[in-house]
């Protein structure tokens, strides 16, 4: 199943939920409106034509020039192969959702795909997107008292953390890209 077919299936079920996203890229993804993401996620998982029952990856991209953070959900449908192998890969698809950089939030899909629980904690930790309805939204990699979200492009390095000096000898305080 191609990404265009997935996009048309979502578009026919939720006409107001799909936004235009470039499809002729290396990683084609269906653009979805944040408010409708939960319904679309349940549709992607439960519709008999799609059955995307595995969340492979959840990535966040900081589009600082456009003032938003993009979340990319990589989905895969695994089905019984029937030829002796336990599973075969039915189809892969990706969903791309943009949320505002400042105070952006998104409905959680941790109960739709259990893998999303820790992925959403990681996105919250490193990019500062909050997920409504997440069962346990804490930092997952950084310490609980860490300041800031390190993968944001305007992140400033800590000067010291619990008495340990943090800056380098070049005085660099922020990531260079």
């Amino acid at each position: 199943m191609t990404p265009e077919e997935v996009a048309s299936l979502i578009g026919s079920a939720f006409p107001d939920a799909v936004v235009d996203a470039p499809m002729n890229t290396l990683h084609p993804a269906v653009g979805v409106v944040p408010d409708r993401w939960r319904e679309v996620a349940l549709f992607l998982r439960d519709d008999p034509r799609l059955r995307f029952n595995l969340l492979r990856c959840l990535s966040g991209v900081d589009r600082i020039a456009e003032g938003r953070i993009e979340l990319v959900y990589d989905l895969m449908s695994l089905r019984p192969a029937g030829d002796g192998r336990p599973w075969s890969c039915g189809a892969v698809a990706a969903v791309r959702i943009g949320v505002p950089r400042d105070g952006g939030s998104l409905p959680s899909v941790a109960d739709v795909w259990p893998a999303a629980e820790w992925h959403e904690r990681e996105v919250y930790d490193l990019l500062g997107v909050s997920f409504d309805g997440h069962p346990d939204l804490r930092r997952i990699l950084c310490p609980d008292d860490w300041v800031g979200h390190p993968l944001r492009k305007d992140y400033v390095f800590p000067v010291e953390y619990h008495g340990i000096p943090g800056s380098t000898e070049f005085g660099q305080r922020s990531p260079r890209h």
Partner: protein
């Protein structure tokens, strides 16, 4: 051994006692089982039969800091881990030694410039006796570092060091 250190003048008895104490210390350095990243793989290789850390009496990796003499900080130390490293160091009994193994531990390594979460050298957290550079260091390098640490222990003495009163 602080009850005996710094009490006697140099002499034949003190020198012989020094030799015995240092000999026993440097031939039974028990490291803390403590691997943080890829350097720990080389540390494990050092302990295995090909390089055989037991030749130096250092093969007894202790699972608790209270029984360990040596902390080989093997791997990237993050700020989150640094407080644990400091706590483990404080729990070790004197005399205690620290080897900084690998580029990350020596000075931040490849994370020096862009690593927001990496401590720029473990000597900012605990005092270091021997630095072993490399990314990761080969087992020979770690053995060399351990032998340099043995040299350092060999030079210790329990005799009283000249203080301000002796100079005056």
């Amino acid at each position: 051994m602080s009850w005996i250190e710094n009490r006697f003048e140099e002499g034949l008895v003190v020198t012989s006692l020094d030799w015995v104490l240092n000999w026993s210390r440097l031939n039974s350095l028990w490291p803390l089982t403590f691997g943080l990243a890829c350097c720990a793989i080389e540390m494990m290789a050092t302990g295995m039969s090909r390089f055989d850390l037991d030749r130096f009496g250092m093969g007894a990796f202790r699972p608790t800091p209270r029984q360990a003499d040596l902390m080989i900080v093997a791997g990237t130390v993050t700020y989150k881990m640094a407080s644990r490293v400091r706590r483990l160091y404080n729990q070790m009994a004197d005399p205690k030694y620290v080897i900084a193994m690998g580029a990350c531990t020596v000075g931040g390594g490849p994370y020096f410039k862009h690593g927001y979460h990496v401590v720029k050298g473990i000597d900012l957290v605990v005092p270091v006796d021997v630095y072993v550079p490399g990314c990761p260091p080969r087992p020979e390098s770690l053995l060399e570092g351990l032998m340099r640490l043995q040299d350092k222990i060999r030079g210790r003495t329990i005799a009283r060091r000249p203080g301000p009163a002796d100079i005056a």
